[in-house]
Symmetry: C2
Subunit: 211 residues, 2 copies
């Protein structure tokens, strides 16, 4: 038994070792990002954490559980951030949309690796965990659609197709994690503002005929 394994045992069960679980998630995230989820083995994750496979399995019973735990956490973070953004905005659909779009983009400048792994590997989480991730994604989509519908009904927005425009907006925001780099020309706030500006333009009433 290695010193690290002994430490693991001393620290006790899964529930009793949040710090180690977090460290495992961090190392696994890096490996999933670099090599892909399917090409990464539990043995490699254990090695990266300085654990034996046995000690790793004490925290996560499978690679799927490990991925699922990370995806649920990042989606709950998104739900929390988007929910807070809607809370601080007034009920005006324009403010709701700007606040939603800004928070969505900002999140994708902060959790770049999590977003890229999550969006690439989402097909690999199933069961209750997969259902929770799907629920949160559907909540975000429905929330955005509702804002677009409301703004259209109020006469504030011109949205030709609510479902399709919601998809265009969400995927444009998600993709920020693919190309945005911190330390570049735009700060995170500026990036989120730019995205929100573009979203507001997308739904704005057009002065002339077909733009």
């Amino acid at each position: 038994m290695t010193a690290i394994e002994r430490e693991e045992l001393m620290r006790g069960t899964k529930e009793g070792a949040p710090h180690t679980s977090k460290r495992i998630q961090d190392e696994a995230l890096k490996l999933f990002f670099e090599r892909g989820f399917k090409s990464t083995t539990m043995r490699e994750i254990a090695l990266a954490c300085g654990l034996t496979p046995g000690a790793l399995y004490n925290h996560f019973s499978s690679k799927e559980e490990l991925l699922g735990s990370m995806l649920v956490e990042i989606h709950r973070e998104m739900e929390s951030r988007l929910g807070a953004a809607l809370q601080v905005a007034t009920s005006d659909p324009k403010e709701q949309l700007r606040s939603f779009a800004h928070a969505h983009a900002l999140m994708h400048t902060v959790y770049i690796i999590e977003a890229r792994v999550g969006n690439r590997e989402i097909g690999s989480v199933n069961g209750d965990v997969g259902a929770e991730v799907v629920r949160i994604r559907q909540w975000a989509t429905t929330t955005l659609r509702d804002i677009l519908e409301l703004g259209r009904a109020d006469g504030d927005f011109d949205v030709p197709n609510v479902a399709a425009v919601a998809n265009l907006i969400l995927t444009m925001g998600m993709a920020i994690a693919k190309w945005y780099r911190t330390g570049g020309e735009l700060t995170r706030e500026e990036m989120a503002d730019l995205h929100a500006d573009m979203v507001m333009r997308m739904v704005s009433k057009q002065s002339g005929g077909r733009q």
Copy 2:
């Protein structure tokens, strides 16, 4: 030697068997899409094509070469379509942008699987083939940036940050392959029109202050 292998031999060299090479690409594309590039083996591709691994290697010397051949083809198709779209438009930046955005979106409603595999696995092509793919992607990005710059200089467009807005536009178009489904509410033409409309709005001069 199986009948199929004999047929392969009769048909001759790599260059002499475009039909078989195309069939291999089609089967490999399906497998790469379903299982991911890294998780798919040459043996599985051979099996899906009804070939022995030996016969498969007569057409493609490696899995990387097979992926690379597909990615180069789909990127050349994109270059050709975008180039043609710019040819039919006048030199007016508004027409250039609409035509570019329409062709880009339409392509992503037609080559859905190719786009999804290509955008996911682009990191796995290297060498001359990788360089050719990168060249075409950079050409598309530069072309779009040039149109945005031109429209801004002409006073037609209001683009706060050309490089970032070009990325937002391109990723929004690429993501159409992720969510658009044929036979749904929108035809391919309608989808391409909607995307182009949204892009025109994104760069349109705003009447009031900050939108």
